[in-house]
C-alpha cells in the first residue's frame, strides 16, 4: 500500500493551486503541496526542501537529519560478538 517516493521541490508551478515541480531523482512532475502549505509555511518556503510524494501529492516533509540518523544508527550499535 501507499507507494511514495522522496523528491526535492525545485520550483513553484502555481502558487494559488499549491502546485510545485518536484524532482524525484531525475523524474520531474508537478505535485500538489496542499498537505504541506500552511499560513506559517507558505509555498515559497518549500523550494529546496525534500518531500515524499504519493499519488501526485507531497505527503509530508522528509527530515534530512532524521534520515541520516536512521542510516548511521547501525554504527552506534556495538553488540559484543
Amino acid at each position: 500500500m501507499c507507494l511514495a517516493v522522496p523528491g526535492q521541490v525545485v520550483a513553484i508551478v502555481d502558487g494559488d493551486q499549491q502546485l510545485a515541480t518536484v524532482d524525484l531523482s531525475g523524474v520531474r512532475r508537478s505535485v500538489s503541496l496542499a498537505c504541506l502549505v500552511t499560513p506559517d509555511r507558505p509555498i515559497e518556503q518549500w523550494v529546496g526542501r525534500w518531500v515524499v510524494v504519493h499519488a501526485g501529492f507531497a505527503l509530508e516533509e522528509l527530515d534530512v537529519a532524521a534520515a541520516t540518523e536512521t542510516l548511521t544508527w547501525i554504527d552506534r550499535l556495538t553488540t559484543p560478538a
Binding site: M1, C2, L3, A4, V5, P6, Q8, Q17, L24, S25, R29, S32, A34, C35, L36, V37, T38, W50, V52, H54, A55, G56, F57, L59, E60, E61, L62, D63, V64, A66, A67, E69, T70, L71, W73, I74, L77, T79
Partner: protein, 392 residues
C-alpha cells in the same frame, strides 16, 4: 535514487541482520510479527528479507493492501459506473486487473468503457476540465495515505465548481482493521510494524490505544530494507525488555501528531461509515470513509444508481485465516492450482501485494519452489566470473 538507495546498503543490512540475530537469541522463543502494510510486504519479498531473519522470527503479512481488501461487489459497482453513457472512468493502475463478478475494469475497457489510468486524482480532475461535456468519475481507493489526496482533489473540484466530476469513494482505515485482527481468537502475533505512509498522515498517537488495550507493541516503520530490519529489531528489543509501546522508526517522515492539513481535509470531506465490507475479513465497524453530505455533489454513489450487490468469494478461500497469520498461503488447497494471480479466488491473490500473490510471484516457500539456497551457493562458486571480477 536519493533517500532510497542509501537505505538498501548491503553492509548496513548485514549489520542489522546480525543485531536481529543477537536479540532473537536473547529472546529465545519464536515470535510472529506482522507488517501491516502491503508496501512493506512488497519490500520484504522484493529484497528477500525473510531469508535473512533467524528461524525464530516469523513475518505475517497483513491486510494492508487496499486493492486486495476491496469486496467484489465494489468492483462490480465500479464497472457499472465505467459503463455509464459518455463516462470517463479514471483509476489508479492497481485496480485495473482486479476481478469482480463481471470481470475486471480492464475487461470493461475492452468491451468499450472509457477507463483511464491516472497517477494522481488531480489528473482525473484535469480530465473533467478538458472534457466538460462528459461525466468523469475517479475510483477513490486506498488507506489514509491516499485519502487526503482525494479529499484535496474534491476540495479543488468544489472550488472550481466542476460539476461533471465525482468520486467513487472506497477509502478504508487502518486502525479498525488492526483491532479486528487483535480481537480475533487464537491470534498468534507478538507485535506490529505500523504502516509508515499511513502514519505520516494519522501520526503515531492513534496506535497508543491499541497498544494499551491489547498489550502488543507497535513500531511504525518505513519501506526500505533498512527501515524494515530496524523496525523488526525495535520490536524484538521491546519484547526482550518486556516493554510494550508505540515507537517510531520512520521518524524522518512521521510525526506523532501526523499531518494536520491532511487530517483537516479528511475531516472536512469525509465521514466514517458505520460498516464497511473488507474482502477476506468481513464487515468491520467504522472502518471505511464516505463523502460528507456537504460534498454530496461529488459523490458518485449518490449521483449514480449502483447495483451494490454483495458477491461472495469462493468458499475454499482461506484469506481470513491467512491475514490473521493462522495459515500460510501454500497451505491453502487452492493456492497455485485453482487460484493464481491471473485467476484469483480471493483477496490475498488479487494484487501483487497480497500475501498469496507475493508468495506465488516470488516463489518463496510453498510447493512451487523451496529455496534451495545451499545448493545454489555451491553452484555459484563454480560459476563464471562476473564483470567486476573480470575487470581486475
Amino acid at each position: 535514487m536519493k533517500f532510497v538507495t542509501e537505505f538498501r546498503d548491503p553492509a548496513s543490512v548485514a549489520g542489522w541482520v546480525r543485531e536481529i540475530a543477537h536479540l532473537a537469541q536473547r529472546l529465545d522463543r519464536p515470535v510472529a510479527l506482522m507488517e501491516v502494510c502491503g508496501g512493506q510486504t512488497h519490500t520484504i519479498f522484493k529484497h528477500g528479507l525473510e531469508a535473512l531473519l533467524p528461524e525464530t522470527v516469523e513475518l505475517i503479512h497483513g491486510p494492508g493492501c487496499p486493492v486486495c481488501i476491496m469486496p467484489r461487489g465494489r468492483i462490480d459497482d465500479a464497472i457499472a459506473l465505467a459503463e455509464q453513457p459518455g463516462m470517463i472512468f479514471a483509476t489508479f493502475g492497481d485496480a485495473l486487473r482486479v476481478p469482480g463478478a463481471r470481470g475486471s475494469l480492464m475487461q470493461a475497457k475492452a468491451r468499450g468503457a472509457d477507463v483511464r489510468v491516472v497517477y494522481s486524482p488531480l489528473d482525473a480532475l484535469t480530465l473533467a476540465q478538458t472534457h466538460p461535456d462528459r461525466p468523469v468519475v475517479f475510483f477513490g481507493l486506498g488507506f489514509e495515505t491516499t485519502a487526503p489526496a482525494v479529499a484535496m482533489t474534491i476540495l479543488a473540484a468544489a472550488r472550481a465548481q466542476q460539476a461533471n466530476f465525482s468520486v467513487f469513494c472506497n477509502h478504508v482505515l487502518v486502525v479498525p482493521a488492526l483491532e479486528f485482527l487483535l480481537q480475533a481468537s487464537g491470534l498468534r502475533l507478538d507485535g506490529f510494524i505500523g504502516p509508515g505512509h499511513v502514519s505520516a498522515v494519522i501520526g503515531t498517537d492513534p496506535y497508543q490505544a491499541v497498544v494499551d488495550r491489547y498489550q502488543k507493541p507497535v513500531v511504525v516503520g518505513g519501506f526500505e530494507p533498512i527501515d524494515l530490519l530496524q523496525s523488526i529489531w525495535m520490536l524484538l528489543l521491546q519484547l526482550v525488555e518486556g516493554r510494550c509501546a508505540v515507537e517510531n522508526q520512520y521518524h524522518r517522515l512521521v510525526k506523532p501528531e501526523g499531518n494536520s492539513p491532511a487530517l483537516a481535509a479528511l475531516a472536512q470531506v469525509f465521514t466514517v461509515r458505520e460498516q464497511f465490507e473488507w474482502r477476506g475479513l468481513g464487515s468491520l465497524p467504522r472502518s471505511g470513509l464516505a463523502i460528507a453530505p456537504a460534498f454530496a455533489a461529488f459523490d458518485a454513489e449518490q449521483r449514480y444508481c449502483l447495483p451494490s450487490q454483495a458477491s461472495e468469494d469462493s468458499p475454499v478461500c482461506q484469506c481470513g485465516l491467512i491475514l490473521q497469520g493462522k495459515l500460510k498461503p501454500w497451505e491453502c488447497s487452492a493456492f497455485g492450482r485453482g487460484c493464481t494471480p491471473d485467476h484469483p479466488l480471493g483477496a490475498c491473490m488479487v494484487s501483487s501485494e497480497g500475501a498469496c500473490a507475493a508468495y506465488y510471484k516470488y516463489g518463496h516457500g510453498g510447493p512451487r519452489s523451496p529455496m534451495a539456497a545451499p545448493r545454489r551457493f555451491a553452484e555459484a562458486s563454480a560459476r563464471p566470473p562476473l564483470q567486476s571480477e573480470l575487470a581486475r
